[in-house]
Symmetry: D2
Subunit: 434 residues, 4 copies
Amino acid sequence: TGTTQYYSDDETSPRDKQQKNSKGNGDFCIKNIKQADFGRREIEIAEQEMPALMALRKRAQGEKPLAGAKVVGCTHITAQTAVLMETLSALGAQCRWAACNIYSTQNEVAAALAEGGFSVFAWKGESEDDFWWCIDRCVNVEGWQPNMILDDGGDLTHWIYKKYPNMFKKIKGIVEESVTGVHRLYQLSKAGKLCVPAMNVNDSVTKQKFDNLYCCRESILDGLKRTTDVMFGGKQVVVCGYGEVGKGCCAALKAMGSIVYVTEIDPICALQACMDGFRLVKLNEVMRQVDIVITCTGNKNVVVRENLDRMKNGCIVCNMGHSNTEIDVASLRTPELTWERVRSQVDHVIWPDGKRIVLLAEGRLLNLSCSTVPTFVLSITATTQALALIELYNAPEGRYKQDVYLLPKKMGKIYFTRTHPRAFLLIFFRFTFE
Amino acid sequence: TGTTQYYSDDETSPRDKQQKNSKGNGDFCIKNIKQADFGRREIEIAEQEMPALMALRKRAQGEKPLAGAKVVGCTHITAQTAVLMETLSALGAQCRWAACNIYSTQNEVAAALAEGGFSVFAWKGESEDDFWWCIDRCVNVEGWQPNMILDDGGDLTHWIYKKYPNMFKKIKGIVEESVTGVHRLYQLSKAGKLCVPAMNVNDSVTKQKFDNLYCCRESILDGLKRTTDVMFGGKQVVVCGYGEVGKGCCAALKAMGSIVYVTEIDPICALQACMDGFRLVKLNEVMRQVDIVITCTGNKNVVVRENLDRMKNGCIVCNMGHSNTEIDVASLRTPELTWERVRSQVDHVIWPDGKRIVLLAEGRLLNLSCSTVPTFVLSITATTQALALIELYNAPEGRYKQDVYLLPKKMGKIYFTRTHPRAFLLIFFRFTFE
Amino acid sequence: TGTTQYYSDDETSPRDKQQKNSKGNGDFCIKNIKQADFGRREIEIAEQEMPALMALRKRAQGEKPLAGAKVVGCTHITAQTAVLMETLSALGAQCRWAACNIYSTQNEVAAALAEGGFSVFAWKGESEDDFWWCIDRCVNVEGWQPNMILDDGGDLTHWIYKKYPNMFKKIKGIVEESVTGVHRLYQLSKAGKLCVPAMNVNDSVTKQKFDNLYCCRESILDGLKRTTDVMFGGKQVVVCGYGEVGKGCCAALKAMGSIVYVTEIDPICALQACMDGFRLVKLNEVMRQVDIVITCTGNKNVVVRENLDRMKNGCIVCNMGHSNTEIDVASLRTPELTWERVRSQVDHVIWPDGKRIVLLAEGRLLNLSCSTVPTFVLSITATTQALALIELYNAPEGRYKQDVYLLPKKMGKIYFTRTHPRAFLLIFFRFTFE
Amino acid sequence: TGTTQYYSDDETSPRDKQQKNSKGNGDFCIKNIKQADFGRREIEIAEQEMPALMALRKRAQGEKPLAGAKVVGCTHITAQTAVLMETLSALGAQCRWAACNIYSTQNEVAAALAEGGFSVFAWKGESEDDFWWCIDRCVNVEGWQPNMILDDGGDLTHWIYKKYPNMFKKIKGIVEESVTGVHRLYQLSKAGKLCVPAMNVNDSVTKQKFDNLYCCRESILDGLKRTTDVMFGGKQVVVCGYGEVGKGCCAALKAMGSIVYVTEIDPICALQACMDGFRLVKLNEVMRQVDIVITCTGNKNVVVRENLDRMKNGCIVCNMGHSNTEIDVASLRTPELTWERVRSQVDHVIWPDGKRIVLLAEGRLLNLSCSTVPTFVLSITATTQALALIELYNAPEGRYKQDVYLLPKKMGKIYFTRTHPRAFLLIFFRFTFE
């Protein structure tokens, strides 16, 4: 949102600074505590679109289901995470937090959290060394030992396994959000090394639908607009892959008046693309004519140098899939091609004959790099995380073993309503039924 | 795009600075000549989406249809305008330019133009006095007198009428882009005071369709996302007015999964809304339940305090219509309401009971204030302006009287192609026909 | 709807039969008076979707704006026309009626009208001679002379001009519904030969939008389904022409999951097709791959033998445009091609190599031949016709001269409501505003 | 399609007739062998949209995978079934066939099959006694014993279990198509009574998606148009249930310009409805205002008398769900309500105050009763059935036990192509990749 730029001239490492919040507390390490006010406004905006967490907070006036919980967290540090952390706090938990990604921290939000008394260790643009240092500062603290882990990617869990395995004796459970982290947990479980129960938040139905279909339907438009201001009407677009992400991208672009082609190797998905009105093509068939290329397959090297060589001048290339390997960006780092950074996250790669392609986010995820994920979607994930923490923390002895679990299907309903499913939606998703 | 913020700390007025470009030329007045490189990149991006102007430039290698033309211009100063100015220059014209709006100048683009030798007088955040001073600097210069006017809003034309009426003796014509400016010209014409031919660019078919239906279909989503990050899916939205702008807004939001209601007083437009699947309502019927309110009527006081009082907490209110009077913003400036600026262009207006509404751009045009107009759309307008200048400048004596004209319908085709209409589209709009 | 088939074995010409209705009245000539009950049910169904005419009838309880009117009519004789005729009768008019098309009469509806006391002269499958004989029987009757004409195509008007010119002395006006008929009236007017005022119903805004965009959006699907049961999802379709009819066809097929291509020679329409997400092609480019070809241009020979030769096996060809000449059907009547009638309105044309194309309605209008026009659409036309008759019949001396007029724009409103435009819609179009 | 009506006057029971085909064969029992030519044309039309079966036939020129197979079948007897039967025959099988439904037989198709030498026992309008007599005639024949069963609903299987259990000794397998039949098989299997392997065709992915989402998207429009000619644009519709069927109905009607409301009790489906832009309601909230009510829940008594009492005059009520119990039709059979049959499958139910509701197909499945299922969809089912027969008939001893199996996932691909998935689609679904 551009706001962090106001302070970007300060080049001192946060690790070299001594900062305290207005109450004299200095148990945090962030970019600049002075940004706290600005971060507070971002958090207030986020609260507007996170009705379920706010509803959970209200409950806290009556009971404190996380009283005594000591949560160590490692997630993206954004306004939405702040709403989650402040909710956990309202429910009775103590929190210490690090970032799960070296670029994704919103510095001003971190400042607002530090000002609010949270022990946050994160800033935008950490080095690899900073990253692990921050995690260690969360965990390795005298007189405080976590009893719950909230992880996104498994790095925090990994660190504790490696450095402080004894800590698991007091830990009641792990809540993990990402595909990668969940995969690691299943591997630990298979190997018989998982020593506490873990909750897989990633595979809940709502998260799957939201993070993929509904969210991508909006973020593909948002990401392209913010980076290139391209008009969608009349543009020819090829979308590689027709899974949930591809379906969302295709639906959005079709609705905006683009002519959309699909590449797909799975017969059932290919059939769905056909029945939804998209022409199935091989990538190279349409490469010379398309204005935009979007990868959503989850595979490697979907768009390779041969394809890039065929693209027409001005073609935009971006990735919405699950990895940064769908576009073979490395193949563009050759001497005859000139790279020109024209905006943040936007490179022109220029061929000897003057042809330019517009590469977004260097092939990393467009929706994470160049658009904001709607708060509303994050709200659902965050609420699920909070519910998972509550469940694991309060579960009677023996309900959960040293294994990986899915959140009990009806739990959301149990916590929010016992009446009509519309009431559930009303609270959880803020849909209105007048 | 945030880029100008890098330099926002410099508070000196451009009028108090002495700047020269790298060739020693100082006949301009802008924010900061050092931003030129950055502006050049923005211009290069814009060129990618302005194929018709670039095609016009190619012609210039053969002939110079604007040789001898001295164009004084007053428009938004953006990357797209820069492509237009550089095209006019390539076709043989000399240009001097001011901004038609005190906020809309892209400072770095102005810098790139100044560095390129253009006499530009404009910066973001001019005062009223600055505004007229800049216009005067364009016109009132020794040894140079304009023979063509390119205006957007009529302020430049008005200034010359008022201060330098004799100048019209040498002026061959006026090209005017805006509704307001065209209206003024028709008034002059009626009053018998129009002393040169004028071309009404605003009412060309392509402009109407583009600036309204197709453009708004995209910019409503863009404007809402950039300011609020709201998720569209499942939201309830009321759109006031079902003209071309309203049609575009409704189509886009429906496609993103919003539930859209329409208010409309014209029976034919109301019928169209019905047949397009939107429920017709009176505003107050749905006010308590909607998440977003969008005005597109062109009328005054469409959303008034009474409506605003009924809105639910968190409701977003914005204007896509033709004036800043559709939302009665003045009625919100009362002591019991608190205003909080949460982001650029985003205010929370807070009621005594804590209810907040989210007001965008203080009721001014969302698409101008909070999204970027696609270059592609501007390309069409800019090309039409260039063609109008060429036509007026080269028209044989007597073809145009002291009156307001529309661009000859087929002129685009005449200039670009004499063959198949698809070739016309190909060049003018960059659509591919493989 | 298949119902007339029950009686299709009776091969006697209606002109050779003596029939009387249950009240002993025999002043009509139709297929079979015994079908009256069945026709009455069709009329009752139609009444459900013609709220405006039914509202007009209610008025008749208070006043009789057509008292004394003697209307001679020549239109399609369908259930909807019957609702119109019975409304005119309720408003005070006497009616005599013939068919404007030799195929379009619903025999059972004609029977119900005859049973109800109307002098109807029409049946399905008239010869050319029958056609004019029927018209003459309407007009040339002792002791009754029309004072109003309601025409669709101008044949009735033409007949009176040719055979009974003196009749115009008593005629107060002509209401004409079709493009052709209106064209003829303007020619008469130009030639100074129009001797009564005429009302052009065809060019009213609602009719244009309804008969084209909204109506065709539904009837293209209906016509294709009823004739071929084709599944639309995944089919490739080329639509020739992107006027209102083409827009409707394209929107419907896109929504059903077809891949739609457009041919268009007008640049503005072509641009609209692009911006709406359809690929512009030349017909022959896609001829080998498409499953369905639809003409909507209004021109001649849009699809010619060369195109038909290239089509793939099983390709469906049909016409939604304004004439039966868009597909060069004559070129398919050559010895090497075999025609096979596989269903009513469906021919297989078989090439020597076994390739078949599926030709619908022999190239005549699909929506008239193979689908039913929604009653709701006809309701709007019929109401407009009734209002035009009332206006012409009651207009004060001198309001209308011997010229062609459009219905006063606001007349619908005047007759139905003076209050809110939604009330107008409510009555005229039966939209509900709860 | 109306064609069987030509012969409807013949009231003699087929069981009382002696008929022979043109080759003197009389081993069949159908309505009227003279309709064979007409049926042949219907079959030829169907072949156009069943490319996969036709491709299978081509294979038969090389090998006969069903040589020696004696298939007894009990399915709907339609043109599409005929294409399946003639394909089985071309692959080497002998077939005897009865109808699985007393109303669904296309008499002229049965005639064409009989003329072609198939032993068919079926006609439209069988009595309960006829139904079982026909099945028995298929099975109980001297000198011929089936070794494969193709069933739709389980009645044939049930009959053999009950009457000729010894027959199973020679039977290699059962292929079952319907939900009900599959349910019966699983019950047999659980009870340890299933004595041959069975293939569950119903639960294949393509069938599920096709029969529900894609097929209903088209058939809801088709069924409503053929019965009521209603215009969809501007109509208010409530769809009960947002499963695959409901999703298809909602998408189609939304695309045609209807305003669609959804009732749903499952939170996840409700959420999807919200995110797809449909307003969630309780049925009674909107009952007074809607023009059309569609049930798609699979539950009982979704629309009850209380709802029907509230409906407005002219409201259309129909069922697209899985049973005929969704609308409580019985509650309408009370003395104060008058039923009027206005067309085939269309009843007006009239309240004492004159209000009519339009009930379609007496609450039975609209898509089966009032529209034709696209041949293309049936093609996929029929091809799956053929593949299942081939698999079971040729499976090596021991591959299949006495259990219920799903068709091996990749079998379609194995049979049709070993190359690119697009080739699979090309053949299986007739999609073109130019």
